[in-house]
Symmetry: C2
Subunit: 343 residues, 2 copies
C-alpha cells in the first residue's frame, strides 16, 4: 500500500514530535497541536501506519512511536533540511580558527565542535595515511637495534613508529637511508610505497630483508595497531537523554563507543560516501542497536581520506545533524587545504 499525502503528513508530525519529546505521540495531542484533522481520523491513520510497520505502540493505551522503518523514510524522503542559525554557524566557524597548527589538532577540535553543538557524541577519524603522498621519512636512532621512524605526508599528517633496525646500521647510515627513501618515494602514494619499497630497497639501497619488513610496518600497517586514530568527544552527552537514564544501557553504549578499533573501522567504511545515515539495527555494533550514526567524509586534494560523524539516539534530530555535518565538512575542507598551500 502506498502512503498517501495525509499519512505522510501525520507520520512526519509524529516523528518530529517524538524527536523533540521522546514521549509516545497520541492522536489527541496531534490534533490539538495544529493538525487539520480530528483525533479520530488521525487515530485511524495511525492504526494503518502501525500495520504498515511505520509506528509501534509501547502498550495498548499509549501513543505511537516511530519504528526504524519510519526513520528511514523520514531521512530519505520526508525531512526538510534545517538551516543553522547565524549564531551557530559563527560558533562552528570559530572552532576552526583556533588550533590550525597541525592536522591532528584541527581534527580534535572538530570532534569537540561537533559534540558541543549537536549535544550528541562525536567521532572523527584521523586521515587514512595510505591514500596520501609521502613527503618525508626520517629515521632517528634510539638504542642500538631500534629507531624511530617519522613519516610525514603531503596532508601534513605525521606518524611515529618504533622499528627494529640491524645493530650494525649506525646513525649516519640511518640518515642516509632516510634521505634516499625520501628522495626516491617523495610524492608517491603511501599505499604504493610499500610494494615498491620491497622491490627496490633490497637491491638499490642494499638493506636487509628484516629491516625492510620493519620499515614497511612503519609506513603502512601501523595505523591499525594505533588506537589513537579516532578522536571521541562528548561521550557523556548521551547520558542526558532519557534513553540512557538506565545505567546499564549507558554502560553498554559507552563501552561500545570506546572500542576505538571498531569505531575506526566504521568510519573508514563510511569515508567512501559523502554522507551516511545508519539507523538502529542497521548498525553492526551490538551496542548501537538503539542509536543512529550519521557520518560525512572529508577530502584532501579531492581524495576522501577520512570521515567524521555523530552518534545519537535513533530519535536524533537528523535534519539538524546533517546540516551541521555539511557545514563542518566545508570548513574542514578549507582548513585542510590550507595545509597544502605549498603546492
Amino acid at each position: 500500500m502506498e502512503l498517501d499525502q495525509r499519512k505522510l503528513q501525520i507520520l512526519r508530525a509524529i516523528v518530529d514530535e517524538y524527536i523533540l519529546s521522546a514521549n509516545p505521540v497520541g492522536s489527541k495531542a496531534l490534533s490539538r497541536g495544529g493538525m487539520k484533522w480530528s483525533s479520530a481520523t488521525i487515530r485511524n491513520e495511525m492504526a494503518d501506519l502501525e500495520t504498515l510497520g511505520y509506528l509501534a505502540q509501547p502498550h495498548t493505551s499509549a501513543g505511537r512511536i516511530p519504528s526504524e522503518k519510519a526513520y528511514r523514510l523520514y531521512v530519505d524522503q520526508m525531512m526538510q533540511r534545517a538551516h543553522l542559525s547565524d549564531e551557530e554557524s559563527r560558533l562552528l566557524y570559530g572552532y576552526f580558527r583556533e588550533h590550525v597548527r597541525d592536522v591532528d589538532a584541527v581534527l580534535r577540535s572538530t570532534a569537540k565542535a561537533l559534540s558541543e553543538i549537536t549535544h550528541y557524541t562525536a567521532l572523527v577519524m584521523m586521515p587514512d595515511i595510505g591514500v596520501n603522498r609521502l613527503r618525508h621519512l626520517q629515521l632517528i636512532p634510539l638504542t642500538p637495534g631500534k629507531a624511530l621512524a617519522v613519516v610525514v605526508t603531503d596532508a601534513g599528517v605525521s606518524q611515529n613508529t618504533v622499528i627494529d633496525v640491524p645493530e650494525d646500521i649506525g646513525p649516519e647510515e640511518l640518515d642516509r637511508i632516510s634521505k634516499a627513501i625520501t628522495a626516491r618515494f617523495s610524492d608517491c602514494r603511501m599505499s604504493a610505497v610499500s610494494s615498491k619499497l620491497v622491490r627496490e630497497l633490497g637491491g638499490e639501497l642494499s638493506v636487509r630483508a628484516d629491516f625492510v619488513e620493519s620499515l614497511l610496518s612503519a609506513l603502512c600497517d601501523s595505523q591499525s595497531r594505533d588506537r589513537r586514530m579516532v578522536e571521541l568527544s562528548g561521550t557523556t552527552n548521551m547520558l542526558e537523554y532519557p534513553e540512557y537514564s538506565d545505567v546499564s544501557k549507558a554502560k553498554t553504549f559507552l563501552a561500545t563507543v570506546e572500542q576505538k578499533d571498531d569505531m575506526y573501522r566504521m568510519l573508514k567504511k563510511a569515508s567512501s560516501m559523502e554522507f551516511t545515515v545508519t539507523i538502529g539495527s542497521e548498525n553492526e555494533q551490538e551496542g548501537f542497536q538503539d542509536c543512529s550514526v550519521v557520518t560525512a567524509s572529508y577530502r584532501v586534494n579531492g581524495t576522501p581520506v577520512g570521515s567524521f560523524g555523530v552518534i545519537g539516539p535513533t530519535r536524533m534530530d537528523y535534519a539538524r545533524v546533517l546540516s551541521i555535518l555539511k557545514n563542518v565538512q566545508t570548513n574542514l575542507g578549507v582548513v585542510l587545504q590550507s595545509f597544502l598551500k605549498e603546492e
Copy 2:
C-alpha cells in the same frame, strides 16, 4: 579520646564490611558475623565512634557507614596489606610482556591492566619529558614556514610538534640545525635545554629570535597543550558500583575524569611521592568528592618521571589497590629500564 583496641577492631570490621557490601553495617550483623561482643556492646562502641567522627548514620534506624576520617585512619594504620593471588600477579605480569615496542605502548597497556584487574578507573601519566635527557632533535620540513620538530629523550619517549620556521631556512639548514642542537645538548636535561638554548642559539648557531621561541615551545612547553599526556582506562567500570546507579552522578564523574588537563596536573603533583592516597573531599576536583584516588610514581634511572593510579568510590578496597599498584610499579620499572639498556 584515644581509640582503644576494641574500638579499633570494631571500626576495622565496619570498614571491611562496608567496602565489600556498600550497605550500612549494623551492630547485630557484626556480632552475628563473628565479633566476640554482643550487639549491645558493639552498639555502644558504635555510638562512641560516631561522636568521635569515625562513623555516620544515613538515618536514625540504619547501620553505620565509615566517614572519611575512618578511611584515613584505616589507610594510615589499620589495613593489612593484601597480597595478590598467584594468578593475579601472573595476569599482571602478562600485560607487560606484550607491547614492549615503545614507552607509550607500555603505559597504555599499564592503564588497561590496572583498570581490568582493579575494576576501577585507571589513569597513567605519560612521562614528564622535562626531567629526561635529550637524545635527539630532528626538524623535518613541512611547508615553507613550517616544520615538524621531533624530540626523543633518553627514556625513549618521542614527541612531535609543528613549529613555525622563517621561510628562508631550507631543508638542509634545518638538518644542520638539528644536528647541531643534538650534538650540543645531547644528554642535557630537557628542562635545562630551554634556558641554555636561548643563550646559545642566537650567537653560536645564528638563528633568529622568533625561531628560537618556536623551538622552545617544541622542546618544553608543548606537553601542557597536548591532551594526550594522560591515558585513561576503565572509565565505565565505575558504573558497576551502586554509588553511580544514579546517571547524573555517573555523568559528573565521567565528565571530571575526562578533563585530561586536570588529571595530568593531579598525577604530576603525585609523581614526587612513592604512593599517595587521597580520600573523598581531600580531592581538589569537584567531581571526585565521593571518590578516592590512589597513585604510585614510576622512575627512570632513579628519577621519578611520572605516576599512575586508580580512582574508585571512597569505599574502595585500598589494601588490594595498593598491592596492585606496588606490583605494577615494580613491573613498570623493569620494563622502562629495558628501554635504556644502551647506557
